[in-house]
């Protein structure tokens, strides 16, 4: 049986890539240190497979066809299309894992979930900035779980928690002895293309972190359901953290670093969870 060996989350603001060489050196060093720490912990977990939970930034999907959630079941994915990404992460193809992707899809359908599927996704900066900065080995297969975090209406938080539990169930029911890690990307608060653009809602972020630390799903759900509509639109990506959190069993959250990052427009959050073994 497969095993969940590590759960992580990191921000992915595009300016991390676009402005990496020109941002203030001390700021770059803080970002680099946090990503490096995740990389260290990920390598220590010795994963055979990484599930990346991330939004799609209008790359694969548009409003004529916009899944709430989509599983990448292909053997291969395409690398990022953004010119600023090609500069730092010039990978044209990323390795997938069709067998686990298919198992996750089937487990979802058998459990009354209705995901979309894709046999070939193009992974944008949302997935690839963390992969680049964490230093994920090109040989490590990726199974993308793309979540609509950009265009309302979106999955509610209760459903994100359920998706996290489902992901865990799929990992633990996979018949091969795979070591699986999960990486949620995005957040924390930011505001993009709206009248508050640039706003980093530190109070929201710190409360959110407290709820992850506390581990009470009901409180986390109540807080996010009430506060997400009141903060910047980028905070909707917290859904990816929530899925990671629930996959870990909603416990064992450890903040690696958090700081407002005006240079990249985001509340820069980095975390890992110590997955607790499920009692059979």
């Amino acid at each position: 049986m497969a095993e969940l060996v590590g759960v992580f989350a990191a921000c992915h603001g595009p300016l991390i890539a676009r402005d990496w060489d020109v941002m203030p050196a001390d700021h770059r060093a803080k970002l680099a240190a946090a990503f490096d720490e995740i990389g260290k912990r990920l390598r220590a977990a010795r994963p055979d497979l990484l599930v990346v939970v991330s939004p799609d930034h209008w790359v694969n999907f548009f409003i004529n066809n916009l899944p709430a959630i989509c599983i990448g079941v292909g053997d291969e994915h395409d690398g990022p299309p953004e010119p600023f990404m090609k500069k730092v992460y010039p990978r044209e193809r990323l390795k997938g894992h069709a067998a686990f992707g298919g198992h996750l899809l089937q487990t979802a359908l058998d459990s009354d979930f209705d995901p979309a599927l894709s046999h070939r996704l193009r992974l944008d900066h949302g997935s690839c900035i963390p992969l680049w900065r964490i230093g994920v080995d090109a040989k490590l297969p990726i199974v993308p779980l793309l979540v609509n975090d950009l265009e309302a209406p979106m999955l509610n938080i209760k459903r994100c928690l359920a998706w996290g539990r489902l992901l865990r169930q799929a990992i633990e029911s996979y018949p091969e002895p795979l070591r699986v890690a999960v990486l949620g990307t995005g957040g924390l608060s930011h505001s993009i293309g709206e009248t508050t653009m640039g706003w980093i809602d530190e109070e929201f972020d710190r409360t959110c972190i407290r709820h992850f630390e506390n581990g009470d799903e009901t409180q986390l759900e109540a807080f996010l359901t009430s506060e997400l509509p009141r903060t910047g639109n980028g905070a909707h990506e917290i859904r990816d953290w929530v899925i990671a959190h629930a996959a870990a069993g909603s416990t064992g959250f450890e903040l690696i670093d958090y700081f407002p990052s005006p240079a990249t427009f985001v509340g820069a959050g980095f975390a890992s969870w110590k997955p607790v073994a499920t009692v059979a």
């Binding site: 548009f62 299309p81 293309g193 653009m197 706003w199």
Partner: protein, 96 residues
């Protein structure tokens, strides 16, 4: 209210470098390939963010002005000018 054809124009510009170059050379000619309403067409030609923003996803709006060639500081200043209270929240933004 989402404007489908405005959104489609922005999406296509993001995905097609040739179209983006054509747009920078002659905005009106490219706009006329889409079913864009007259008031929206005027807003595109005048960079009237106040008209465009409520009609399109905020991320697509940002991509559009990047492709259009507007410096991000100018884009942010225009957004902030739409809402004085929002500007206060975003104070401290380097480019705002």
């Amino acid at each position: 209210m989402t404007d489908y054809w405005l959104s489609k124009l922005f999406f296509d510009l993001q995905h097609d470098a040739g179209l983006a170059a054509a747009y920078r050379a002659d905005r009106a000619a490219v706009i006329d390939r889409y079913e864009i309403r007259p008031e929206v067409r005027k807003a595109l030609l005048e960079d009237d963010i106040g008209i465009l923003a409520p009609r399109v996803n905020a991320y697509l709006l940002r991509f559009y002005f990047q492709i259009r060639g507007m410096p991000e500081a100018e884009f942010i200043a225009k957004l902030h000018a739409l809402d004085a209270s929002a500007k206060m929240k975003a104070k401290g933004v380097a480019n705002g």
